[in-house]
Amino acid sequence: MKPTDTSNPEYFHQVVDCQFGCPAHTDVPAYIRMIAQGEFSDAYMENRKSNVFPGILGRVCDRPCEPACRRGRVEEKPVAICRLKRVAADHRDDITSRLPKAPATSNGKKVALIGAGCASLTVANDLAPLGYEVTIFEALDTTGGLMRTNIPQFRLPPKVLDEEIGYILDMGVDLKTNHPIESLKGLLTEGYDAVFVGTGAPRGKNLEIPGRYDSDRIHIGIDWLESVAFEHTKEIGKKVLIIGVGNTAMDCCRTSLRIGAEDVKVMARKPRGFFKASDWELEDAEEENVEILINHSPKEFVIEDGKLVGMKFELMEYKVDDNGRIDRGTVTGEKIIPCDDVVLAIGQDNAFPWIERDIGIEFDNWDCPVVDETTMMCAIDGVFFGGDSAFGPKNIIWAVEHGHQAAISMHRYCQGEDIADRLPRGMNLASQKMGMHEWSFSNDYDPASRRIMPHVDLKKRFKKLDIEVELGFTAEQAIQEVERCLNCDIQTVFSADLCIECDACIDICPVNCLTITANGDEDDLRSRLSAPAENHEQPLYVSADLPHTSRVMVKDEDLCVHCSLCAERCPTGAWDMQKSTLLVPYAQDELAEEQSTSAAST
């Protein structure tokens, strides 16, 4: 293999598994260390920089960082990254003075954002401080999009939403609620310099089987949750069936329990392991005694005397092949399960009835607009998409990242610059050595297991719809949990020219990451390392030829616990521990870059 090019920011970026897994590249280990030092406000601001809504995301983020977290490979469970985000939010001081502010005068450019969900709000957050006149058009009478209308209050209290959305709107954003955009064509004539579409994926999937329209007790999940959130719906029958087993289904079943249901069954077509819902959402629902029935495929609604009395299912059996793929299944029987209400939670579609099809936007087979994944622009210049509206339903953190990228594009577009020619990501590296065996971070491995989130008592939590179930970590839990982080951003950096091949690093490494061996191609090298290197998603760090023997030092990054012992045992300092800081450009940085180049040229 060629020597690893560590000057490419993406190399060390991918070693920080959580940050690499986070769509918005949140610098997780940095904020965890801030929490460890009691600097909660700093930790909050570090989060806000990339993910904009730390209090919200600290509760309900889809947390792709956690399955990616290295700790989950070294032992069973990843660091409770999301929970720690909430710790930062819960314990921060008043940070309003540290928030970005809009300048006194506008830069003369006007942008329109459609929808007041997290995608649009992120665009506003990034563009308002640059002097843009930002207008948000929202169909409903409130902000937040699905975060407010669909994520139940027992998971995400409105106060948290109001506070973090307020930080953005308070920068002088012009919010027009009760203002649905009914024609994009029309809006495009109103003189905006750029337009952002953040209208989400608003249509819940329907289930067209016999009986569907013969009762008014069959509800579409996302509409029903919205109507509960706005208190139009205040009750539901005693026996409820939820169809589907994704995250929406989990919210529907738990909401049912809070407005009158006593027996809630979630009906899954496939077996466990093929559910769409996140493990933690399943756990939380099952803790509330929701029953999940597997291998039940809906066949028809059973209506008697014009009244919904149950639902008929086909009982399924599946085969799973060696690669874990499941077949289409065979029907082994039928069963009727009695119920009073059915909630359909089988997915969402995009819908743009208000976008004329003749104005130049291309739509794909799923009725999704064709949007560039880097610039977020569609076929009409100056019209950008982000969040669920761009590529179908995802989650909040993706919507935020889309917002950041769209903001960069909108800024460049408004300034008449090429939107594809964006600032690249950069990387800073700084040694963390403080003395012979002293490092600026806590390098000792703490064997503590993952802390468990305390919940409101089962007896109390159903009394009202808005009792937040998760209580947040206690101080003791937070202190323990932060020590579980392996500081993956403190990189092992190797200088081949200093190595005398004494093997000290290889001998001390607790997880056998290191090998000195003859070079070869990747598969060959992987077969000759100190420990099996079977995780191909994790890179090998290969040195230049070593001075004494022309062999190479190879590090399998997979399980490194960043304990620094290799660097401590190295007599020549060939290994060093250096903190990598990923420099992620935002719209603000594009502006700063322009200002510095124009200053240099005058």
């Binding site: 064997p447 005398i500 001998d507 001390i508 607790p510 099996p532 004494h548 045992r569 190295c570 007599p571």
Partner: protein
């Protein structure tokens, strides 16, 4: 010395041995030697060898004298027996221990100072007795612990960090052992575990005195230019004459060895050592021929390594003396100590 202990985590893909233990189970406390000391690599090689052999920790005895090298038994197999004796006196303490309990596997870890300077008298007599032990010399040409004075293994002309080059003849542990009839003699380098681990395994399983003389650089006092025991010098003049593989009892000898060059030698416990000559001239079973070869290469400035001599036929100490098979520690007291009357009878036989 590191402030933190080696984290108690391990790579989930690492193998277990015949006892179900992992290599980490054979570790000791974290080394307090200088970072980069060759001795730490030897420790790692010993851990690997003992792990792979599946030796039960409580059946191993770690013996040592004084020196940085002699400290290292603390850094492997924490659950084994250990005796850290007086400078240069490890051989006699091991002789006593072995006399009392012949069932244990003995590994002595010594230095060139410990064995060839102050302890040379003890060293040679342990060889003469063919004491059943694995005798490791971590050879760095200096007294590391006392800050780098030349030891008796320093080569003529080798330069110290400060002061005059060495002018006296070195004592070569390998030729000394050869001349005294040691039955397993190997030389290796701390920086070559591929060679070292099988050599240690063979030495641990050999019945009789097994010497493993290991060039193990002292990074702090003897790793500079002009030193003949530095990493760089050793790599440059390293000359591997014979490879060996240790094959445990009942394991099939792979076809790859049927190439005529391979010499399988069966050991007492049914395991096999397969020697593969790299230099055809070399004869690892002839004392006279090996001696000649080693001397010539030594004069040419080369460091000859590999399993240099092997003799599986000679009796070890207990056999020579006709001792009981049961370890003395396990004999009932009345057999071990038959009483005054028996002693009188015995003495009268010699009157």
């Amino acid at each position: 010395m590191s402030f933190i202990a080696k984290p108690n985590v391990s790579h989930p893909g690492m193998p277990k041995n015949s006892l179900g233990l992992s290599q980490r189970d054979y570790e000791g406390t974290v080394s307090t030697l200088c970072a980069g000391c060759g001795h730490d690599s030897v420790t790692a090689a010993i851990i690997q060898a003992v792990f792979e052999l599946g030796i039960e920790p409580h059946m191993l005895a770690k013996m040592s004298g004084i020196g940085c090298s002699s400290k290292t038994p603390a850094y492997f197999v924490s659950q084994a027996h250990g005796f850290n004796s007086v400078h240069g006196r490890m051989p006699s303490v091991t002789t006593g221990a072995n006399a009392a309990n012949r069932d244990l596997t003995y590994i002595g870890v010594s230095g060139d100072g410990d064995s060839l300077s102050i302890g040379v008298g003890q060293f040679v007599h342990a060889i003469r007795r063919n004491l059943n032990m694995c005798y490791v010399i971590e050879n760095n040409g200096v007294y590391g612990l006392t800050k780098g004075q030349f030891s008796a293994s320093a080569d003529i002309g080798s330069k110290p960090k400060k002061g005059q080059p060495n002018l006296q003849e070195p004592i070569d542990a390998v030729s000394t052992a050869l001349s005294l009839g040691a039955t397993y003699i190997a030389r290796s380098f701390s920086g070559d575990k591929e060679q070292l681990v099988p050599l240690l395994k063979g030495a641990l399983m050999h019945r009789g005195f097994a010497l493993v003389d290991i060039v193990s650089p002292c990074v702090t006092f003897n790793d500079h230019e002009g030193s003949t025991k530095s990493y760089a010098h050793t790599r440059q003049f390293y000359h591997n004459v014979i490879n060996m593989d240790y094959i445990p009892p009942r394991e099939e000898i792979k076809a790859a060895y049927d190439d005529g060059e391979a010499m399988p030698i069966e050991m007492h416990d049914g395991s096999t050592i397969v020697l593969r000559k790299i230099d055809r001239e070399y004869e690892p079973t002839s004392r006279a021929a090996s001696f000649k070869y080693l001397r010539e290469r030594f004069n040419a400035g080369e460091i000859t390594t590999g399993l240099l001599y092997l003799d599986e036929s000679r009796a070890e100490m207990h056999e020579l003396m006709g001792n009981v098979d049961t370890p003395l520690t396990q004999l009932p007291l009345d057999e071990l100590h038959p009483g005054k009357e028996e002693l009188k009878k015995l003495q009268s036989r010699y009157r």
